[in-house]
Each structure stands twice: as structure tokens, then as C-alpha cells.
């Protein structure tokens, strides 16, 4: 009986500038029960040889938690952006079909499946995605919050900055400065917090500028690809209303 194999076709490039090294490589690795894309990549590390028998370097990729809470291992698997840790081989290729892996296309490439997502963290800085606490010293309990509020904010607080929403968004491209759905949703999160609310206008004003919420094209792809099922469309709608209100009546509140 021939050993069951997992077939992978992987987009590779040796470094950002080495465009000439852009290529596909194919691999076959031994199948194991409950295998995911990451464990298949780990098998390549143990035997970095392509299907045609050529020696190559192990494929490099980013990963950390392997249980879809850190957001590191995002890549394009069979044409769909997602975390590769939850990409189970038996689901993707029940009959031994080839699984295709590519790096995300909307971020600068680093090498192979690794891209640079620094812009997402910069965006969090721009929208002041934090609570302005007076300090970490003891100041007693925080403000009371209703269970309803917690149920609205908890899903928003699960954003892993993984990049799926930016990858799927048509407004993220070379000619646009759109900040991205993840940052808008974080504005909603912090503006819902009893003390975060006190600085709501700071966050909204960032979203009024170039690349802000006005650049959303309402394609709604973001919510579809979000691995944590964060209601991003809803977030954009709510923040958009708040921004409009701020633009129309903000001067009255001053």
C-alpha cells in the first residue's frame, strides 16, 4: 500500500528585492491524522526536497500560537486568505488534491510566505486604540458596565491584527491610503468603553482625514473573511454615523 501523501504548491521568493527568484515549488509530505497546513510545512523543514527531487531550502512562514488567537500565520490558502493553523488538510484536500499556499498580496513581501504587516500596527497608533488611563497604580475598580455592553465589545476585542480584512478589501491598493477595517472597528471598541468614550472625538477625527472612513467602498469583503467573525460592517456603519455626526455638529459641542 502506498503511503498517503499531502501535496503542496507554494509561492516562493527569496527576499523582497529578489523578484527574479519568484517561483512555485511543489512538495509531497507524509500524511498524518489531524494534520493542518502548518504541520505539512513542518514536514518540509524535516526534508526540504521538492516533488521533482530537487533540494531546496525549507519554506519560511510566520507562526506562533497555532490555535488561531495570535494572528501570525495568515496566508492565502487555495486562493482564500485565512490562518494556516486552522487550515486542516483533510478538509482542504479530502482526496489528496494539491493545496496552494501564497503570501498575502496587500503587504510588502519579506520572504516566501512572510509579509510585513507593520502598517496595521501603525494604524492602531493613529486612531489611539487605547484607553487613556491615569496610570497603572491602584485606583480602585473600573467603571461598572452592563452585560449588554460587554457582549457588544468582547467580539470587537478579539481582533488579532491578522490582516485578512485588509487582504480582502478592494480599497487597499497601491493608489489608496485607506486605514483598513480593523482600525475602524477598534475605534468603535474604545468609543464604547465608559472612559474610552471621553476621547471619542480624537479617534473619530483621525478617521475624518485622508485614508479614513470615507475611503471604505462598502464591498463588505472584510466581514466575510474575518476569522473571528467580528461584525466589521456593523462597526464601519456605526463609526461612520459617529463621524458624520461629529462633522455636522462637532463645532456645536466645542
Amino acid at each position: 500500500m502506498s503511503e498517503k501523501k499531502v501535496r503542496l504548491k507554494i509561492r516562493r521568493q527569496d527576499s523582497a528585492n529578489a523578484k527574479g527568484t519568484r517561483r512555485w515549488e511543489e512538495f509531497e509530505v507524509p500524511w498524518k491524522p489531524q494534520m493542518n497546513v502548518i504541520s505539512a510545512l513542518m514536514e518540509i523543514q524535516k526534508n526540504p526536497v521538492t516533488t521533482s527531487g530537487g533540494k531546496t531550502t525549507p519554506v519560511v512562514w510566520e507562526s506562533s500560537c497555532l490555535e488561531e488567537v495570535c494572528g501570525a500565520c495568515t496566508m492565502v490558502v487555495n486562493g482564500k486568505v485565512r490562518q494556516s493553523c486552522t487550515a486542516l488538510v483533510d478538509q482542504l484536500a479530502p482526496n489528496g488534491q494539491t493545496i496552494t499556499l501564497e503570501p498575502m498580496s496587500k503587504f510588502p513581501l519579506v520572504r516566501d510566505l512572510i509579509v510585513d504587516r507593520a502598517r496595521m500596527f501603525d494604524a492602531l497608533k493613529r486612531v489611539h486604540a487605547w484607553i487613556e488611563v491615569d496610570g497603572s497604580h491602584e485606583l480602585g475598580p473600573g467603571p461598572r458596565q452592563s452585560q449588554e455592553n460587554q457582549e457588544e465589545t468582547y467580539p470587537l476585542s478579539r481582533c488579532m491584527t491578522c490582516g485578512c480584512c485588509l487582504e480582502a478589501c478592494p480599497q487597499i491598493n497601491d493608489s489608496s491610503e485607506f486605514i483598513g477595517p480593523h482600525a475602524i472597528s477598534q475605534v468603535r471598541l474604545f468609543n464604547l468603553h465608559p472612559s474610552g468614550k471621553m476621547h471619542a472625538t480624537d479617534r473619530l477625527s483621525t478617521l475624518m482625514s485622508d485614508g479614513g472612513i470615507g475611503d471604505c467602498g462598502k464591498a463588505m469583503n472584510c466581514q466575510e473573511v474575518c476569522p473571528k467573525e467580528i461584525p466589521l460592517v456593523d462597526s464601519i456603519a456605526q463609526v461612520s454615523r459617529a463621524v458624520t455626526k461629529q462633522m455636522l455638529f462637532g463645532w456645536l459641542l466645542k
Binding site: 490555535e67 494572528g71 512572510i114
Partner: protein, 677 residues
Amino acid sequence: MAAKKSVRSESGKVRRVVVVGGGLAGLTTVIKLCEAGVPVDLFSLVPVKRSHSVCAQGGINASVNTKGEGDSPQVHLEETVYGGDFLANQPPVRGMAEAAPGIVFMLDRMGVTFNRTPEGLLDFRRFGGTLFHRTAFAGATTGQQLLYALDEQVRRFETINVEDDQGVSIPGERMVRKFEFWDFLSLVMDDSGIARGIVAQDLKSMEIKAFSGDAICLATGGPGIVFGRSTNSVINTGTAAAAVYQQGACYANGEFIQVHPTAIPGADKLRLISESARGEGGRVWVPRDTKEKRPGRDVPENERDYFLEEKYPGYKNLVPRDIASRELFKKCFHDKRGIFNRRSEKNENEVYLDVTHIPKPTLRKKLAGILEIYEKFVGEDPYENPMRVFPAVHYSMGGLWVDFERSSTGSLVMGSPRNQATNIPGLYAAGEVDYQYHGANRLGANSLLSCIWGGMVAGPAIASYVRNLNSSSYDLPASLLEKAEIRERDKYEGILKMDGSENPYQVHAELGEMMLVDCTIERHNATLDGVLAKIEELTDRANKVNVLDTSAHSNQPAQFTRHMFNMLTLARVIAQGARNRDESRGAHFKPDFPERNDAEWLRTTLALHKPGAGNHHTIHYARSLDYELAGQRVHVTDEVDISLVKPRPRKYEQAGAANTAAKSVAKQSLAPLPTGR
């Protein structure tokens, strides 16, 4: 004279502290340093938001006592010490238990989306080793939420300028500078053995560079990957701890490795199913009949063996992890009672963890995060079918030895430069990488607490150390950094030249498999001798690996080869510590020595590195340590500070056995309290 407290060095450079690791402990240390006016360079293997703290699920302990049960920090201290089988120094634990409510309130103010009671207060649930509702939680992804809150505060400091001694902001000098995707290689030490900076490698450009720091704090987490597959993130190789250990830092209680009872077996990792599943009422069982082939939900109640509840009527499914893991192991391996698996069509080493009797709205509000993981990776619905789980390596109680200064009242002297200090002057450690708070076994939901508390203690301790430094690291000759840089570059060049026949990933896989099988739940001296011999053999093979990749960009195989050597070093510390300790205490269990032996072993294992030829090291086990701190000689021994709670045998069969202070109220708290809606 430039004041010692000045933000600038004599030569006018901004004085910084280096923090390595951006999980809960590292980020808290950064925040505390920034608040004390000390700028920080923060290094991390990954963007700090992706640190392993995200994996923590169940919650964080704090005796806020909002359920009227009579819980208090004193009870928390007692239960932590008892759960740890009396190996933890008690004053630091007391400090932690007393600070816990304030820490949870701080996190709440930072915006953590904790679950709430109908009155809008923080909700608390039960966890292992206690009868009290002491664990605050945000769904079942509490670690993620806590990490994000601290990450956000640190990001804020990234936008704030350093101020000079007159309070004028210094343009271009931010309070926090982040170096993400950098691998810690080693300390820069001066001639008198003081840590003066670090050498690190940029994992994209592979550039090796030395950085000054007036002090260094390692908050680099645990070494779970030494065991191959565990519940840990792939970055938890323990490489930084291994590196400083080889530079003279003492590694304490390395043999104490926590095995978590409930994880999902997997090819790449063993995914945790939080203790909170049992805290919310989940039950562990196997069918009474080993020939039982029906799906778990179809097995009638009277044909189920709820073996933890039967054996431990006091704490039931919430006995501490070391005990639960041993019972699960015994059920599967010794009694051959593992459950039937419909996919493999045979009985596997798995037991049921059942939450199907809990109302679905409760599950969705409180446990969705972990049930989602089960659903995604196993492909079965845990709301309808009992989950299939088995123990997995989870946490290291041992780690870098750190000091503490006891106050006259038996707590910590906050701001003492001895707190969280390693035996290398200028090197501090906090979080899972230190050994301080959990003794021989950690209680659930104490890890998030000890990480944050470790940072809260380390921050002021380091600030105080830095203020009293006679000369800033920034005023030392550049040759000090250059020498360290050259040393590390040579080492790295050596790795790039490795062209042998062995594969580093394969060598590591074999190490992990052996450590997992032979050095976890049950330990036998003959087997451990074999483990130690095999580590030597694997070291020989490691010396003959092929680096697989010599490129100058994102060279992961070369980085991994370095980590592999460091994992072999830590494996030796863990296995030799286990071999030496002929007793059973907490997570360390030897069937041939089944009793705890306080007369001989109520002491800290202190391991010091002795270099040998060809990466073959030996270990010197010390009974005391001497180190210099701010011109003072500090002498410490391996004696455990048991000044607050007198050691007694652990008996989780009886309700309330873990504490004497609150025995009467503990009885009342046995009845489940209504929480949430």
C-alpha cells in the same frame, strides 16, 4: 556631576533599560519603567501582540470576594502555596495575592472586556485548587484580552517622547522603542560580570547587533517546545533563558514542568482546553465498560465513571493540575480505560471532558473561545458531544532563579533592587521565565497574575537599580559592545557553515518525543538515566547538522539551529533535576519515591552551568548563591521561605483542605452560586 538619576548618561545619551519579551510580564515591566520615567528598548521574537500570553484562556485570579464567600488574599496565598506543595517562597506569593485585586481593577480600567454580573460588576468563576469564585475572565480568551490591553498601553508610550531632567521633551526619543522580529542571543557583560546590554539578531535582515542597556529584563516565557508538542506557542523554545544560563545565570527548579490534564491531541501542537470548562461545571469521565463504542452523549449516566469526582469528593473535577493529569494518565495507561475513537476505530489514550449538560447560552457567553478551538480542530460540536482530551505539557514552574527582599510583615519590600534580580547583576527576569511564584505546581489562573505581578515588581526594582548604578552602560567604551557583537557573529557564521548530515528539525523532534514520554507525568530513575544519555547522543548529532539554508534573509533554519542547541541545554537541566530529586512533590512524581520528603527536599534546585567540549555541558548543583548588587554582597541559600504557611500534606479529597483560614465558609461555597443571567 550628572546625577545618577539623570535620564541622560555622562556622554549625553538617553539611558534605557532593555526588556526582552513582550508578553504580559514584559509589557507590564515596560509600563512600570515608563511610569517611573525610565525609557525602554523592547525586543521580541514576534510583534508583541502575538506573544504566547494570547493563548491563556480561563482567567486571572484575584480574591475580590464579590460572591460573599469569605475569600481573601490570605486564602489565595494559602491555596497557592498548598497547591504548589510548599516549594514556593511565601513572601512573594503573599505580595502577589495581596496585589491581585488591584491588578484586575487596573486591567478593567485599561478596557479589558471582562464578563460582568447583572449589577455591572466583574464576574468571577471557579478554577482548580480552590472552592472560591476567584477567577476574572473575558470569555475564554482572557490572555488575549489582557495582552491586548497592555499592548495598547505600551503602544501609547511609543508615541510619547522622553523628557530630560528639566521636563523638556527630547525630540526623536520615544519612551518605548520596539524591536520586533529580533532574537535575543546573549548578554553584554563588563569585566566585573555586570550585564550591560544585549546582542540580538534581526530575523529579517539577519543583522547581529549589540545594544546598551542600564539593566536587562528577560520576560521571555517558558521552554515548552523542549517537549516537542505542547500547549505552547512555537516561539517558546526557552532560548533566551538557556543563553543567560550559559553565561552564569542560575536556573532554579527546572524539573518542575506542569502537565495540563485537558488538551486536544494534534500533529503540530496539543491545543489546550481550559480548566475553566471544569470551572463552569464541565465533568471528566470514561465509560465504565471499555468495550463501549457508542458516542459519548449516548452513554447513559449510570454507565459513566466520573473518576475525579469519585476519588476527590472535596474538589472533584477541580483538583490541581498535577493530580488531575496523573489520574487521567493512570486511567488511560495503567488501567487501559481510554475511550473508543470512531475515527481510528480503537480505544485511544483519551478521556471525555463533558460540558453538554451546561445551558448553551452560558457556554456561549463564558466558554465560546475554547469550544470554537475544539470545533475548528477536531471537527466535532462540543455543545452536543463530550470533548475528547488528554494531558499535555503546559507550563514551567521552574526558570531563572530570582531574588526577593522580604519585608518585616512577611511580604515584599516594593522597589528593592533585589526583587526579580537574577544572580547576574543588572539582569532581571519576570513571568514564566522566572521560578518564583508557583512552587512545585501552579494553580490555574495564577499564571496571568504572576506574569503581571512579576512585571509590577520588576519595574520598580529595575528603576531603583538603574538609579543607583555608579556608571551608565552608555558611558562604557564602545569596544565592549563590539567584542560581544563579534563573538555572536562568529558563532552565527559557524552555524551557517554547518554542512553535516543531520536535520536540526529532526534532532529536535526526537528530543521532544523523548522528553514528552520519559520526563513528564511519571518519572523513573532508570529511564531518566537513559534520557540523559540520549541528550548527549543528540548533542553529538546536533553538532553534525546541516543548516539547510545559508541565505541572508529571514533564515529560519539557522535561527532554529541555535534554538535547538539551547533546547538541548535546558533539556539537560530539566532531566538532571528530575533525576536528582528522589521524592514526589507537585508536578514531579516518581512512583519509586511516592512521598514528599521535606527533610531532604524542601529546597530549591539551583543549577549552574559548567561548559564542556563540543556543546556537552555539565551542571553544578549549588546549595547557595552569592552575588553582588550595588556594591553589596548578597548571600542566599536553597532554603525555601515557609514563614507564613506551615507545610502539611496535600489532601484534596476533603473540601476546604487547601486552606485553614476559611474552612467554615468554604463549606457554604460548595453550593453553586448563580452567576450572570
